[in-house]
């Protein structure tokens, strides 16, 4: 009985350790996978729930004010948002990763960003997407699946548009 308890405890402990290792070894979320559901409360207090955006193309951009490589793409993303906004079937969401609010707001002002942006509280969203750093952008199709994963910044406005257009045209 004592032996069984000891072995049972050991097996349980090893299982927990194995699960932890599997979780940390999991790569980034892949194209075609279901996008993890999340709730983003923006700096202005609006709430966006991914599940409620089903039927729209969602562009989720992870950024931070301390991230130098986020800056060049910031104005391109904003321009893309302004160009697509009137269509009504696309939404851009900015997720501010481990940042401080005053600097984040300054960044938003500096680049004139108008699409919804909010902090990644408790890093819940970035953990769900298993991001490795910033910037990273995920384009989610109308069914809530990952259509494109951009690791690092988009090179230009054309780069963003050439990625988004085929998805938007293939209704």
């Amino acid at each position: 009985m004592k032996k069984w308890l000891l072995w049972g405890g050991l097996v349980l402990l090893l299982t927990i350790l194995a699960l932890g290792l599997i979780r940390t070894q999991q790569g980034q979320i892949g194209v075609g996978e279901k996008a993890p559901d999340f709730k983003l409360v923006t700096f202005s207090g609006e709430t966006y729930h991914l599940q409620e955006l089903r039927g729209k193309v969602v562009v989720v951009n992870f950024w931070s004010s301390w991230c130098e490589s986020c800056k060049p793409e910031a104005k391109d993303l904003e321009q893309a948002w302004r160009d697509y906004r009137s269509r009504g079937d696309v939404i851009f969401l900015g997720v501010d990763y481990v940042d401080t609010e005053p600097e984040a707001r300054e960044y938003i002002d500096q680049f004139g960003i108008t699409y919804p942006n909010g902090p990644d509280r408790r890093t819940d969203i970035s953990q769900a997407f298993r991001i490795r750093g910033v910037p990273e952008t995920y384009i989610i199709n109308r069914n809530g699946e990952i259509y494109h994963r951009q690791i690092g910044p988009f090179r230009s406005l054309e780069d963003i548009k050439s990625t988004l257009d085929p998805l938007l045209e293939g209704k």
Binding site: I16, W66, T100, P119, R121, R122, G133
Partner: protein
């Protein structure tokens, strides 16, 4: 006329006292906390960007911003626990150098001492068994059986005889 002058002096004095006693915003603000005070809290937190680097030792912009935030909160009169609580609330448990004692985190605190105790117990058991197996109360496995002793004696006497005959 004289009364008017007296009244004017009194009003002036009252106003002067009020101006001196009234706390201006400059006086209400706490002095800027020194680096040591900021780092005492920063070393209990981990850099959000580089892995396994305490916040006080990290030179990235992200960490500089976080240290600035700690300084700001200290200036506002927040306690160490309140500041750490704020960071956990905003950025999650993983910012802490020591995981909070709850849920699965308990494994971090319990497994190492339990493993040590189990190892010590296994060593004790092994050592005790080894000592018992060597104790003289048990038959000495290295002893030569009696029939073999007889054969040996016979062999020696034959060798001696042969040597005498030469």
């Amino acid at each position: 006329m004289k009364n008017h002058i007296h009244l004017g002096v009194r009003v002036f004095l009252v106003l002067l006292v009020l101006v001196i006693l009234y706390p201006s915003p400059g006086f209400a603000q706490e002095p800027t906390p020194p680096d040591d005070e900021v780092n005492a809290i920063a070393k209990q937190l981990y850099c959000p960007v580089c892995e396994n680097t305490p916040l006080d030792a990290c030179r990235t912009s992200a960490c500089e911003q976080w240290r600035g935030l700690i300084r700001e909160k200290l200036q506002q009169g927040w306690t160490e626990e309140e500041i750490k609580g704020y960071f956990v609330e905003e950025y999650g448990d993983r910012v802490l150098a020591e995981p909070p004692k709850r849920g699965f985190n308990w494994l971090v605190y319990l497994v190492p001492p339990l493993a040590f105790l189990a190892g010590a117990y296994a060593l004790y058991r092994g050592f005790t068994k080894w000592r018992i197996s060597r104790s003289p109360s048990r038959p000495d496995s290295r002893k030569v059986p009696e029939d073999e002793v007889g054969i040996e004696k016979e062999y020696i006497s034959r060798v001696e005889k042969e040597l005498e005959n030469r």
